[in-house]
Point group: C2
Chain length 434, copies 2
């Protein structure tokens, strides 16, 4: 099936596919360099320097979009954050329109990665990009440095072939996707409008058109410290308090999963995760304090405030059941994700044309799926910009021995190349030096 309105289809499928495939080595090199900088929260800049150079190496003119804490805190869709964002930047590069007949596009990826979970469990050090067969291993290889490499490689190939888009394209390498999405949000505060966005998250063989919201919350438990020798008479242990609260939160999670109409293909769409715990300061002292940091999903359409209320009600149930908790009431702190879900209709031209580009390479249209995670897509959707995720095949995302398929990097870049041609249109441009 041909997708109808593809302005300026002046490069054949074969030429696009070959031009992108020719960038395989360049993309692998970029991916390896990105994986080898540990761009965890607060340490993103070495990755942005690599992306800045990569954009420049394509003949684009990268610029910085600095995070502005005050602007972010006042923005619609912002999440609370306690850490310093001064000096942090997104790196964006416009690929200017060579005509005025097409549809504009943002290609977006995040350079930040989650911590390695447990270094000692990795086969190789998590920030050494080790290649084995078709796989590159490393924290962030899949989520989502491969996506950054693929989207940049696709644009590089078309520039190298001597073409420009028929409407503006912008490439965005953003920060803080893994905690707030404020990198993408700052880009939107910086730039008004585009016709569509593709985020090259590691969602292979399907397009992601719907996602949950996510709430991070931190439960601060207080105990009554005492000598362990008299723990049962004098003390109340904050670690035990955390255990009681966690049990109540698990009951809350179970109720949320009982009735998942928009997510009925998932057996367990709403996941509560007690991700970090820290409590006490001495084995022989009853723990005085404990912090339990959790993540829970929200169905699309649910307001983050409603999710907060649900968490607080669950904790109140634990308090009602425990006189000692009532004497030492837990406090809930919100820091990081506090965001809604989002849905893009499957009939959107973006979905149809990206599916068509996929079909040209793979011979079948990809399914349009929902995810139980969040992505930066919500920031675009909230502003009326259709945004979907599609990208290379990553495995063990947030897990041990995370890896990405190099073949899938090239193939997703090829699909993106066809999609840019079909969505934006291409016009002959000045052939860039490379």
């Amino acid at each position: 099936m041909r997708t109808g309105s593809t302005p300026g289809e002046i490069l054949s499928d074969e030429v696009v596919l070959e031009a992108v495939a020719a960038e395989a080595g360049w993309m692998e090199d970029l991916l390896v360099r990105l994986v080898e900088v540990p761009t965890t929260l607060g340490n993103e800049e070495p990755g942005q320097e690599i992306m800045e150079n990569a954009f420049g190496d394509c003949g684009l003119k990268p610029r910085s979009v600095h995070l502005n804490a005050d602007a972010l805190r006042n923005a619609e869709g912002a999440s609370p954050f306690s850490w310093d964002v001064d000096g942090k930047r997104n790196v964006v590069a416009g690929w200017p329109a060579g005509g005025s007949s097409g549809r504009s596009l943002i290609l977006n990826g995040h350079v930040d990665v989650v911590p390695p979970a447990a270094r000692e469990l990795w086969t190789n050090p998590p920030f050494r990009a080790v290649r084995e067969g078709d796989w590159i291993y490393g924290r962030g290889a899949g989520d989502m440095k491969a996506g950054l490499a693929a989207m940049t490689g696709a644009v590089r190939a078309l520039i190298g072939a001597g073409y420009a888009p028929a409407a503006d394209v912008e490439l965005q390498s953003v920060v803080e996707e893994e905690c707030t999405g404020h990198g993408a949000l700052q880009c939107l505060l910086d730039r008004a409008r585009t016709d569509a966005c593709v985020i090259t998250e590691p969602h292979p063989d399907h397009l992601t058109v719907a996602q949950v919201g996510v709430l991070w919350f931190h439960v601060e438990l207080s105990g009554v410290p005492a000598h362990a020798a008299r723990a049962s008479q004098l003390g109340f242990n904050a670690i035990e308090a955390a255990v009681e609260v966690l049990a109540a939160l698990r009951r809350h999670e179970a109720r949320l999963n009982e009735n998942p109409p928009p997510y009925d293909t998932f057996e367990h769409p709403i996941n509560l995760n007690p991700g970090v715990i820290s409590g006490g300061d001495w084995p022989s002292t009853v723990a005085a304090s404990c912090t339990l940091s959790c993540r829970i999903g929200l169905y699309p359409g649910q307001d983050p405030q409603e999710a907060r209320a649900g968490v607080e009600t669950a904790i109140a149930e634990a308090v009602a059941a425990s006189p000692r908790l009532a004497e030492n009431p837990p406090r809930v702190r919100y820091d990081g994700f506090s965001c809604e879900g989002s849905v893009v209709g499957e009939g959107e031209p973006l979905v149809q044309i990206l599916s068509g580009a996929y079909e040209k390479l793979h011979g079948e249209r990809p399914p349009a799926l929902a995810t139980t995670a969040t992505t930066d897509a919500r920031h675009f959707v909230r502003r009326g910009i259709p945004a979907v995720c599609f990208g290379p095949r990553g495995e063990q995302i947030h897990g041990i021995d995370e890896r990405v398929s190099l073949r899938s990097v090239v193939e997703s870049a090829q699909v993106l190349g066809l999609f840019i041609r079909d969505w934006c249109g291409l016009v002959p441009g000045r052939k860039e030096e490379s």
Copy 2:
């Protein structure tokens, strides 16, 4: 009632009591200076410098007894330890015998303190020695810097009165009482023998003649990290693993408390304390690892190896009940206390004569009690040296707003002064300059 065999009772009760009371200001000053140095594990030296000067100020010649890791690891009664003890020292001061008719004595106190549990819960900063009425507040004020001040003040008063003991007395300011007891153990490796030991722990209005053993154990839990979005399908959370193991350990604790013959005055003699927990590295990542550090008591007569077996059996029960725990088996690490309990007979001359000294001040004999904690007394008892605890009135030991009664410091020093006279005997000595 008079205690029979008191060699060389040449100072009246009143003279001893007045001489010690005259040192109240000196003892308070020493206590304040000790509280204001935060002598937590690894930071004991500033406290030892103060004690070295205090011993010197009494006319004694302090010397250092350095911790020797190899000697300690090979010593009977040692506990495992993973940290560096190089350069750490006890400070001891002999008060040489002026005759040969008496019984020798060690007065022992520890300079190390536990961490403040939760600084933000304290009314005043935990290492600022604030006086309110009769109380000095601060971490370690009761446990047991007041005891160090009292024992040194008692000796200072008798020296100042112009007397020497009829058998050797040694004052010991030791380190690491709160984690291994290796300071006291090193002193015993250094010095062969004494007739008795009094440890001036904050055990007021009674003598402590029996204590439990203590085992520290650290349970290392492994999870299967994954993205929180797919936690229920892909992940196994190490924090949840810790919760399962803790429940099994609580069942073990309950069984231990069902049948407490030697401790039948206690409703709950054996206390399990999950003192420290740390797990996970990101709210949206299923926790890959979690460490739960616990303390549990042992009845006197129980071997630490038996206590380890009990803990390991309890954890094995949790594993047997949980296929996911079985796939990710917990590991138990022993670091810190691994020690037996100890008991001194109430008929021991040490107990009788110290009780008699107490009666002379307070008009009644103190009860001889057991404690559900451990103290350095066990190291002496293991070597056949009777050792009991007696000292000032501390409150909120290991808790918030720990404090000690200044009046009780003076009174316990007075009892110690009478006890030294009655146990060791006193002979006229060269009056020291002060």
